[in-house]
């Protein structure tokens, strides 16, 4: 089956920042993403879990974006502008997608 090169970008970020991130993505002309719930984790600021959250609103989510390789830099700039001062992790992998016209 015919596949096309793409980049898979996975951004783990605080729920309260989600709207700001997706706004930035839209401005950077990235129109497709999926948001996955994260139920816990650990990092430099310690360990947390959704059910142990003091303020239930401050959990994290994972935003997965598939983009054409040439759009990657634009996307990373947009994501970084939001993630910069905030907790968050950005991870890029090479991928193949079906139906390239969608990205």
């Amino acid at each position: 089956m015919q596949t096309h090169l793409a980049k898979r970008v996975e951004i783990t970020i605080e729920q309260v920042m989600l709207n700001r991130l997706t706004d930035a993505l839209e401005k950077a002309d990235v129109t497709g993403w999926s948001v996955l719930p994260v139920q816990g984790g650990s990092g430099r600021s310690g360990t947390w879990s959704r059910e142990g959250q003091v303020s239930r609103g401050t959990g994290m989510v994972q935003v997965v974006c598939l983009v054409r390789p040439e759009k990657l830099d634009q996307l990373l700039d947009a994501a970084f502008s939001v993630v910069k001062r905030h907790i968050g992790v950005v991870c890029v992998t090479d991928a193949q997608v079906l139906r390239a016209e969608r990205f």
Binding site: E14, V16, M17, R20, S45, G46, R50, E51, G52, Q53, V54, S55, R56, G57, T58, R85, H86, I87
Partner: protein
Amino acid sequence: MLDLALANLLSPIVLSFVLGVGAALARSDLSVPEAVAKGISIYLLFAIGFKGGVSLAEHGIDLTLGLSLLAGVVLSFILPLIGFVVLRVLSGMSRTDAAAVAGHYGSISIVTFVAATTVLVDAGISSEGYMVAVAAAMEAPAILAALWLISKGSDETDMSADLWREILLNGSIVLLLGAFAIGIATGSDGLARIESFIVSPFQGVLCIFLLDMGLIAGRGLRQAGVLDRGAIAFGLLMPLIGAAAGLIAALVIGLSTGGTMLLMTLSASASYIAVPAAMRVAVPQANPSIYLTLSLAVTFPFNLVLGIPLYLTIAQTLVGS
């Protein structure tokens, strides 16, 4: 007072909280699903707002309504400034962290408010229905004060129109005020229809909610290492300062015994929903463990167990019972 404190201590509500704390400290895997906890808090906000509205509709608008709202706004703005100074004296926290913490103490904890109304109901003491609106009015000014304190230091904060919209249209505030308005509009007729949902099972539902709060506070206590001694002292002292400020305001305005006790409780309590979320967005460099632990694992239990009966005793002594 001692009797009251003991009765309070032996109420199912407080004991459920204690159970939660104990389970978390013992590292039991007991937990309340996030969706259920959110569902219960929707129930509590709806019920408390609605009942406040009905009570306003029944007793009519008091001359003191406007004054109380004003007092709430002023207290909410001034308490963080006082708190900030106290905290800088007592604790070695950074300026940013201190400002973020102080902001929480200007704002309010709605569960503490709910627990206080329950104590009033049990004691057969009535209170001004509009205190619910005062609670809502006390959420935002504290955030403003905290951000002002932080911006005065050189640290950058991330303020925007968006953030203000989020703060003012925060789900809890909208639901509380919305239910309050519905209560005013439908009055006691409306209440009669949904009484067996929002009145009779209320205390039982609150038990489950406090069980969950206890679990969270207990988990917080296990991480209490983030707090220095000064911070813990602040978490116990600040509610008393807040309550005193609330008391003065209540006496000036001339609130009833119940209203006085509620304004003291509001002033004494610290936010753990609206303010933390706003701080995460605007001041990500402030450490959330500090303000959440202090607000939830120190001040909340203190108010629930000792503060509320204390404030009631004082209000009864000074205003009459």
